[in-house]
């Protein structure tokens, strides 16, 4: 049962443009969401998080938006750079959902120079 879904396995964007990565979840108990970035042969690296009391969190070129009613979050990268090419995972957890973070299957982003 996949409680966190990333329905786009891959995305290609031109350098300098906006990258938008999407994530949907099914468990309304989730209240803490994170995005991770993963290069090949490396472990995921934490990028940005958001709690359910907010609908937006920004850190430099990265902004995460949360739409609780739609159970949807997105990561915006502006402007996209070739070094952003990686696999992006969203993850979620909530009070009462256990200790684990639930991860999506990832979206592979390619930024074309």
């Amino acid at each position: 049962d996949q409680q966190v879904k990333q329905n786009s396995p891959s995305l290609s964007v031109q350098e300098g443009r906006i990258s938008i990565l999407n994530c949907d979840y099914t468990n309304s108990m989730f209240d803490y969401f994170l995005w991770y970035k993963k290069y090949p042969a490396e472990g995921p690296t934490f990028l940005i998080s958001i709690s359910s009391i907010k609908d937006k969190n920004e850190d430099g070129r990265f902004t995460v938006f949360l739409n609780k009613s739609a159970k949807h979050l997105s990561l915006h990268i502006v402007p996209s750079q070739p070094g952003d090419s990686a696999v992006y995972f969203c993850a979620a957890r909530g009070r009462g959902t256990g200790n684990q973070f639930y991860f999506g299957t990832g979206t592979s982003l390619t930024v074309i120079p």
């Binding site: 966190v4 472990g43 934490f46 993850a91 200790n99 684990q100 973070f101 639930y102 299957t105 990832g106």
Partner: protein, 113 residues
């Protein structure tokens, strides 16, 4: 370095053998997680350690899997009588506490022949 360290980075073994995977978390991190990632899948939670509390083993797929964390630091994940479906990348992560983002190691790629 000061990151999460996992060893070995790669392990190839025959079906039926036991394997032991090691994780050195970041010093001072009380929370430690094991995940595995099979090809094309998201991260699957296996086990969670928090300080001296009893571990959350709810993600272990069978009784062939076990883990321990000695002295609140180093952790080992043991898989007995390995099967081909155990082939995956096994990732360890640590965090300051349960509510902080996780820092991942680079994983152990396990291949069962």
């Amino acid at each position: 370095g000061a990151g999460v360290s996992q060893s070995p980075s790669n392990k190839v073994t025959e079906k039926g053998k036991d394997v032991e995977l090691r994780c050195d978390p970041i010093s001072g991190h009380t929370a430690l997680y094991w995940y595995r990632q099979s090809l094309g899948q998201g991260l699957e939670f296996l086990i969670y350690f928090q300080g001296n509390s009893a571990p959350d083993k709810s993600g272990l797929p069978s009784d062939r899997f076990s883990a321990e964390r000695t002295g609140g630091s180093v952790s080992t994940l043991t898989i007995q009588r390995t099967q081909q479906e155990d082939s995956a990348v096994y990732l360890c992560a640590s965090s300051l506490d349960r509510d902080q983002p996780q820092h991942f190691g680079d994983g152990t790629r396990l291949s069962i022949l």
